[in-house]
């Protein structure tokens, strides 16, 4: 049942990997979240992590970004295991930036500029370079106009962008995003995706957790299904087109591949055409 991707990993090098990861929140829950999870993040890809709530998505993301230390197993950055020292963790955090689901957990400063400059200042950069970094990050997220605004007067979508700018200002190689589209309206989702796509084409690797099977199906290069263990990992178009796999991960099937098959069977879509990615694609077919 599991889909493997032995060939995909040969094409691009793994920039980040977790090997045999185990983790549990022992203080409050005797049962571990998972005991043996391995994952490779390939350079330049979008890796989507999907699974039910409580399946360990956030935990895996936090382990990969050095925000939690695994009980067993290790994190490998550019082929070298990350040491469990202060310096080792700092090195990992500098290269891999985690963005949480709730922007309020990460917006702790009074103004946008202050908040985005927090990371670069901690890296000990000169003030001039900090300013450049902040300006660049705000421009990349298309929020230069918000620079002087107090954070508590921003809308939810704006706050999400400021948090992303704060992570980006660290110039990470890998951005790890926990449910980046949660709480955004459809227009907000589209515009955030366009921004993230821009970052990806500029070379940033993206790891994204989501509940949205259709979003992952149309956007991610690879998908990993996680429910206290890796249920499947492989090309998103294959893994997320398999209703049996998705049901095992307590997810609903994606519309795109289901509709694509149905339309192909009905002769309304050429056999070689890709699955529709959005309802608009379906409407366009008819029009």
């Amino acid at each position: 049942m599991a889909v493997t991707d032995s060939d995909a990993s040969t094409a691009r090098p793994a920039v980040l990997a977790g090997r045999g990861l185990a983790f549990g929140y022992h203080a409050t829950d005797p049962a571990p979240v998972f005991t043996d999870v391995s994952v490779e993040v390939l350079s330049g890809e979008v890796l989507a992590v999907l699974g039910p709530n409580g399946g360990g998505k956030t935990t895996l993301l936090r382990l990969l970004a050095g925000s939690l230390t695994p009980d067993a197993g290790r994190i490998v950055l550019d082929g070298a295991a990350v040491r469990r020292t202060r310096r080792g963790t700092a090195g990992l955090r500098r290269r891999v930036q985690l963005v949480f689901q709730d922007p309020d957990d990460q917006l702790f400063s009074a103004s946008v500029t202050q908040d985005v400059s927090f990371g670069p200042l901690n890296q000990g950069l000169a003030e001039r370079e900090v300013r450049d970094r902040v300006a660049w990050a705000l421009a990349a997220l298309d929020i230069t106009g918000l620079a002087e605004r107090p954070t508590h007067l921003l809308s939810f979508g704006q706050r999400k962008r400021v948090v992303l700018a704060g992570a980006l200002a660290m110039r990470p190689d890998v951005l790890v995003l926990d449910e980046p589209t949660a709480g955004l309206d459809p227009a907000g989702v589209e515009s955030l995706l366009a921004t993230l796509e821009g970052l990806r084409s500029a070379g940033t690797t993206l790891v994204v957790s989501t509940h949205d099977v259709d979003l992952a199906h149309r956007w991610a290069d690879r998908a990993l299904l996680l429910d206290r263990a890796v249920l499947a990992v492989g090309p998103a178009r294959e893994v997320l087109a398999d209703p049996a796999l998705l049901s095992a991960a307590r997810l609903r099937p994606a519309w795109g591949p289901a509709v694509g098959s149905a339309l192909r069977a009905a002769g309304a879509l050429p056999a070689a055409a890709p699955d529709p990615a959005t309802p608009d694609d379906v409407i366009r077919l008819g029009g």
Partner: protein, 248 residues
């Protein structure tokens, strides 16, 4: 979220009346404090540990982790009793009988600590709050304390997440960064605490809140037999300690 609280809520003794657990562990605590340290405190500690790790099934690892900090305090404090300062012969000298005194104080405190922890590990603070009203405290005060309990978990969660986010952006790498990050964190949590209060008022108004937060509190009767049974271990410890003849 807090290990002791989480363990207490899943304790098999959660349903035992707080007065019963209070009698048992409070009695043992009193024994540890009042009786001759040997064998009184030792017996109290043994009884508390036996009951706690036995029928109350307190998780030993969590217990050890919780006991560590206060034990460190006890040991540090006891160490000072080993020496005497400003004596006639030397500025610093071994205190006469210092070992015995330090051991006595440390032993007593360690025993008392076991009793306190076993009570905390089997009795959620939430179950004690309604008793405050029965002690005659004004409702306004009891409700404020109960709200503090509820909100502290929400705020603790917020503080942890902000801290994690700061750490992810290298906010705790150097001492200077640490001070700055903590200041930012403290200010953010303060602002959030007010925001929480405002939002909760808004949320509760929709549920008919007009100033009172009356809730249904289950008041299981205290069974005299259970109280008596709970009093037995402390009484036995007291008897054994006060009648050394029982000891060979």
């Amino acid at each position: 979220m807090l290990a002791i609280d989480a363990a207490a809520h899943s304790s098999p003794w959660r349903r035992v009346h707080p007065a019963v657990k209070g009698t048992l562990f409070g009695g043992l605590l009193a024994c540890a404090l009042v009786l001759p340290v040997w064998p009184g405190a030792a017996l109290s500690a043994l009884a508390a540990l036996a009951v706690g790790f036995g029928p109350a099934r307190v998780p030993p690892r969590a217990f050890a982790r919780a006991a560590w900090v206060p034990l460190l305090f006890v040991l540090t404090g006891a160490v000072t009793m080993l020496v005497s300062v400003g004596g006639p012969d030397a500025v610093l000298a071994w205190a006469p009988d210092g070992w015995r005194r330090a051991a006595e104080v440390a032993g007593r405190a360690a025993a008392a600590l076991c009793c306190q922890l076993m009570f905390a590990f089997s009795t959620p603070l939430a179950d004690l709050l309604p008793r405050l009203a029965r002690l005659g405290l004004p409702t306004a005060l009891v409700e404020t304390v109960a709200l503090t309990y509820r909100m502290l978990f929400v705020l603790l969660d917020t503080a942890r997440r902000i801290r994690t986010a700061q750490a992810g952006r290298l906010g705790y790498q150097t001492r200077a960064a640490w001070v700055r990050s903590l200041g930012v964190l403290g200010a953010a949590v303060f602002v959030r605490s007010f925001e929480r209060a405002r939002r909760m008022r808004r949320g509760l108004e929709c549920r008919g809140y007009e100033g009172e937060l009356t809730v249904l509190v289950d008041t299981p009767p205290v069974r005299p037999a259970a109280l008596l049974a709970a009093a037995l271990p402390p009484l036995s410890v007291a008897a054994a300690a006060l009648h050394p003849g029982m000891w060979p």
